[in-house]
């Protein structure tokens, strides 16, 4: 096993990333597993993280970047405080998921894949979350909401955005 590479900063979250790599013996095939852990810990993959993973696993930066961009699940940009991922699977599409997207795009002035300027809401689309029985489905902050409608979804978003962010002082 190679000697571990120095962590990019004192941020404790890097320890979690390191643990994943150690568990996999710093093997190059742990690349995707490691990127998953980075994204879970930091929310997205920035260049520093990609370079660190590249050095630690001895995988070329181009390959790390190639993998990070190939898979839709990885974000290279930070997400907003809340994420709203509208399912665009077949069942949801047939039941009008695109109308939900249009409604949100219009209301918040962002396109799918974008974040509002105040970083409070990101609008995403996903390919089938497997909740087809509840189509159209939306994953809001990792909670699956079923049988959604454009108006109902806008209402939910308004409610969630109005909530005081966790940890914010009154």
């Amino acid at each position: 096993m190679q000697k571990p590479v120095k962590l990019p900063s004192d941020d404790k979250r890097w320890r979690v990333v390191e643990a994943t790599m150690r568990r996999n013996g710093y093997r190059p095939d742990a690349l995707i597993e490691t990127l998953h852990t980075v994204q879970e810990s930091f929310g997205y993959l920035d260049n520093d993280a990609l370079m660190f993973v590249s050095q630690a696993l001895r995988v070329s930066p181009s390959q790390v970047f190639g993998v990070a961009t190939f898979y839709h699940f990885f974000n290279l940009k930070p997400q907003g405080e809340h994420t709203c991922a509208v399912c665009l699977g077949t069942a949801c599409y047939i039941k009008g998921a695109n109308k939900i997207i249009e409604a949100i795009e219009e209301e918040y002035g962002i396109k799918s894949g974008e974040t509002t300027p105040d970083d409070r809401l990101s609008l995403l689309t996903v390919r089938c979350v497997g909740a087809c029985g509840l189509a159209p489905a939306v994953v809001f902050d990792n909670n699956v909401l079923g049988n959604e409608s454009p108006d109902g979804m806008l209402e939910t978003i308004r409610e969630r955005l109005a909530e005081v962010p966790e940890g914010a002082a009154q």
Binding site: I32, V59, G89, C128, V144
Partner: protein, 541 residues
């Protein structure tokens, strides 16, 4: 070290404990009902049982998918065999009070309806019955009996013969005979062999594998371990999409418990057989459902397919002989070993044995998960089990096989569901997604939707697929906007042929299916949108 007898004791203890209860309330904790907050309903029921002082006689149990997602959250009451639908936390007091008395009629779901009575359950036999987070529950449902029998009474070749005779075919879509695949891997020479479970259920509209992993994860571990023994492998991977967090959690828990109880790892149950399993997460690439792409992904690369042959059976993961089967295929293994191949092959048709799980979705009343014997007609699935279309919508087509499948119109609804019949209709069995469309769906729009999917999911390695899907999408877009000519339609058809025949893997090879099947059965819808279309006689196809 745990022996089988000790395991049996563990199971018996838990069974006795559960038998002390007079009633058991099974609350669906699969992703569908969970999204309707079935977890808080379970908590409310638990509180209420205590509040009414009945916690000595009523057990509340979280279980996997009960099937009828459309009516979730679902709660089943045993032994009364009562099913409640759309239960809310507020219903808890009345619900608990009614146990042992008259069921609450307003909440009751007709458990005798065809949706339930017409199903034949093998893969889903434990779904909605056992607690997916409890090894004891799985053991009490005959779990690990198959593995124990295999490890103590059967030789690897006997196991393969049994699977071969059962007639089981791959449930991932292509329908390759499972026994034959196992035999090839067993014969292949190599010091190390791998067993992989393909749980990268990427087809939009399909959620069978998710449900199986969420509802009965041990079944997959048992099936894979049996496979490992049969082909001579000591190492396996379960590849699951990252989009299924609940399935991953339950699988991880099952893996830990299986290891702790000597059902995985070194010297399983003291029989001398070693088998280790790891979970690998997908990362949202549809093409990774293709077996060579999936193996690339496990190796930490971009998931791009490579030409076959050599097939994974000879040259798979890290160049070693590799057995790769789908979740549902592995889910069939333990029951076949337990009940014998003759039992399994008595179900289904001549060429397609056993059952198939379908995910029923779209414009149909009873959306949810069903398991039916092979050979059942599409009409029975759609009209009887599915309860027909929703609202006033008239049935138009059923789409099978995911984005690379085809649309089957009303006049072919009496066709039996098996691998060859669906292929003859220009669709495929696929993994089991079944989307019902009514007259409100435009077929050009549907084809365009699927092509948009294939275009963005094409891995980019081979030109026919990378460029072809983009060009076909462009043409469909033009047609849907009413700007296309007959020459465009001709070009579209030529491209379908080219992409189908020249692509490297199954994604490109079947990407034209939605266009070709809609052109075949709904050509008039295309022609209506074309500028210089010849005037048609009605119903020209």
């Amino acid at each position: 070290m745990m022996t089988y007898d000790e395991l049996a004791e563990l199971a018996a203890e838990s069974r006795e404990k559960q038998q002390q209860y007079k009633y058991c309330l099974r609350v669906c904790m699969a992703a569908g009902c969970l999204s309707q907050h079935s977890d808080s309903i379970k908590a409310a029921l638990e509180d209420e049982v205590k509040a009414q002082g009945r916690d000595h006689e009523i057990q509340i149990k979280g279980v996997g998918c009960l099937g009828l997602c459309a009516a979730g959250p679902l709660v089943a009451v045993e032994p009364d065999n009562v099913l409640y639908e759309k239960v809310q936390a507020e219903d808890a007091p009345a619900l608990i009070a009614s146990i042992g008395k008259e069921p609450i009629s307003e909440l009751r779901c007709d458990e005798k309806m065809p949706f339930f009575s017409r199903q034949t359950k093998i893969v889903l036999e434990n779904s909605g019955v056992i607690d997916p987070e409890s090894l004891e529950d799985y053991l009490n449902a005959d779990g690990y009996k198959g593995l124990y029998r295999v490890l103590t009474e059967m030789s690897p070749s006997e196991v393969i013969d049994e699977i071969m005779e059962s007639g089981l075919r791959g449930r991932g879509g292509a329908g390759y005979p499972t026994g034959l695949k196992w035999a090839t891997v067993a014969k292949a020479s190599g010091d190390v062999k791998y067993v992989i479970c393909n749980g990268d259920e990427g087809d939009p509209g399909a959620f069978m594998d998710r449900s199986v992993l969420e509802s009965d994860p041990y079944r997959i571990l048992e099936g894979m371990t049996i496979a490992g023994y049969a082909v001579g492998s000591n190492r396996g991977y379960v590849y699951v999409r990252a989009e299924y967090p609940l399935a991953i959690d339950r699988l991880k828990l099952a893996l830990r418990q299986a290891k702790r109880n000597n059902l995985l790892g070194e010297n399983i149950l003291g029989t001398g057989f070693d088998f280790n399993l790891e979970i690998r997460l997908g990362a949202g690439a549809y093409v990774c459902g293709e077996e060579t792409a999936l193996m690339g992904s496990i190796e930490g690369h971009r998931g791009t397919p490579r030409p076959r042959p050599p097939y994974p059976a000879d040259h798979g993961l890290w160049g070693q002989p590799t057995l790769i089967n789908n979740v549902e295929t592995y889910a069939n293994i333990a029951p076949i070993i337990r009940n014998g191949s003759a039992w399994f092959s008595s179900i289904g048709t001549e060429s397609s044995k056993g059952t198939k799980v379908f995910a029923l979705a779209g414009q149909v009343k009873n959306t949810g998960l069903i398991e039916v014997p092979m050979g059942i007609s599409l009409r029975e699935i759609v009209e009887v089990i599915g309860g027909g279309t929703t609202g006033s919508g008239e049935f138009k087509a059923v789409q099978t096989g995911g984005p690379t499948g085809g649309c089957i119109p009303a006049e072919y609804l009496d066709v039996p569901v098996d691998y060859s019949s669906l292929t003859r209709l220009g669709s495929i069995m696929g993994s089991g997604g079944m989307i019902i469309m009514d007259k409100t769906s435009s077929m050009v729009d549907v084809a365009k939707y699927f092509m948009e999917f294939c275009k963005s999911e094409s891995c980019g390695k081979c030109i026919p697929c990378r460029v072809g899907t983009a060009q076909m999408y462009g043409l469909l877009d033009k047609i849907s906007k009413g700007q296309a000519t007959m020459a465009d339609l001709d070009l579209l058809e030529q491209l379908c042929d080219l992409v189908r025949n020249a692509s490297l893997c199954g994604l490109g090879g079947s990407a034209p299916n939605p266009i070709m099947s809609t052109l075949k059965y709904f050509r008039s819808e295309y022609l209506e949108k074309i500028i210089d279309a010849p005037v048609l006689e009605p119903a020209a196809e």
